[in-house]
Point group: C2
Chain length 232, copies 2
DNA sequence: TTAAAACTGTGACCTATGTCATAATTTTGG
DNA sequence: CCAAAATTATGACATAGGTCACAGTTTTAA
């Protein structure tokens, strides 16, 4: 299914809800109930979906598109903490333990989201405990990504971190082809730098090295072809 | 209550179960049920509680003591990911999504733990959904700590990270006194270094600087008195 | 209590990577 | 499609902090 086949204005969000892992255990009728609770929103590239410190009253689920969750340090640096895409949700912490947003969320491209009001979400959670288990699962996988990030930032040098992030993007966003794995990068060089905690220039230099070695090929700024994934 | 007042051989673990936040919503009778499922273990300083990659079949809850959860990189570096102490639990991921341990866990001092078999734990979870919510809460606070760690490692220099970790320890383990906040450090200098991702020598140097400035006072290797917490 | 083991402090040195400046390239939006 | 805006590449340079070596100190456990 491509991104355009779900026009939620027409299909009444059915497909969006079906797409979302946390609702995957529900049957058709239950999905219908959920669908009626959903409010849909669209964000353009660069638009803020959540501002750090603001109050949230909805769970937000990504229907299509990509977003970055990040913090700004007071010296003006940006640290990207998560990249969320189709099926991912966020804001759950703010609903479950009633606190304000811990980070900014900004659309990296045109992004459609489904939102569910706090009270509706809590009701669902009470009625369908499997949703709670799905959420625990998702939190665990988020923990896993952060545990890996901490290990990487604490013990690896810039070159290893760049290789690692390319592997991550290849796994998540890559498409196999006979030339190699074609990866549409979700982040600019600067974004990658802010994700792995190095300087923008360092990302450039390390990626150029990889290109010189024939391990990757850069196509413009937003696409990379990975020719030799084992070398990463 | 000090650590010695709970001799669980005698009191049949009642106090251990009561101490544990995830069981805090249960009433006396329910606690009794839980208590009967608990198997108690003792680990000496330096003993391994979990080995990375091993299979786990119990939830482990810390009754007293402290442990570190860490990974070893293949170049022989150690990255500490969590420090767990009284009331904290671990191994849950391995029970809920059936995978092997993601990190080593080692006792930092004499540590008593309560363990609950996977099946018993799952039964409890099904019967008392509030336990699931407590677990979500705990996972969220773990996410929070890791999000902060990633921000810190990605954007802060060694000095700021040392200051930060001292603040964290002061909050978690510090006791107020008229001289300042007395902190029993859970980690050696090397441990701190492996926690915040810098070299052991750097931790020494930055802490000495803080001592010269009168902000902290080091008492032996395992204790620090924080004289001016606002300066950190 | 004491010897051995573990840990810490410190100087010297080095290098990976951050910073700055500028030119070149790519992307975007009207 | 084009001009403006944004992003990237790259060289020069500076430096924070890693590594090494070793002496001194603290902690441990018998």
């Amino acid at each position: 299914m491509n991104n355009h086949s779900c026009n939620c204005e027409r299909c009444q969000h059915k497909i969006c809800a079906k797409r979302v892992p946390i609702f995957s255990t529900l049957n058709a009728e239950e999905i219908n109930r959920v669908v009626n609770l959903i409010i849909r929103k669209r964000y353009s590239r660069g638009e803020m979906i959540i501002l750090e410190g603001s109050h949230l009253d909805s769970l937000i689920i990504i229907n299509s598109g990509k977003v970055k969750a990040f913090r700004n340090t007071f010296e003006g640096k940006e640290q990207i903490i998560y990249i969320f895409s189709q099926g991912d949700f966020f804001g759950e912490k703010n609903l479950l333990i009633n606190q304000n947003a811990q980070y900014n969320v900004e659309a990296l491209e045109v992004t459609h989201v489904c939102t569910i009001k706090k009270d509706d979400f809590k009701k669902l959670l009470r009625e369908y405990p499997e949703i709670g288990l799905k959420i625990i699962e998702e939190l665990c996988s988020r923990l896993e990504r952060l545990e890996n990030a901490v290990e990487s930032m604490g013990t690896k040098n810039a070159e290893e971190r760049v290789n690692e992030v390319l592997l991550e993007f290849a796994r998540k966003y890559g498409k196999e082809s006979q030339n190699g794995i074609i990866v549409e990068l979700p982040l600019s060089r600067e974004g990658i730098a802010n994700y792995i905690g190095v300087a923008r220039e360092t990302v450039s230099r390390k990626m150029n090295l990889l290109q010189e070695e024939g391990i990757i090929e850069m196509v413009g700024n937003k696409k990379v072809i990975i020719r030799n994934i084992d070398a990463l």
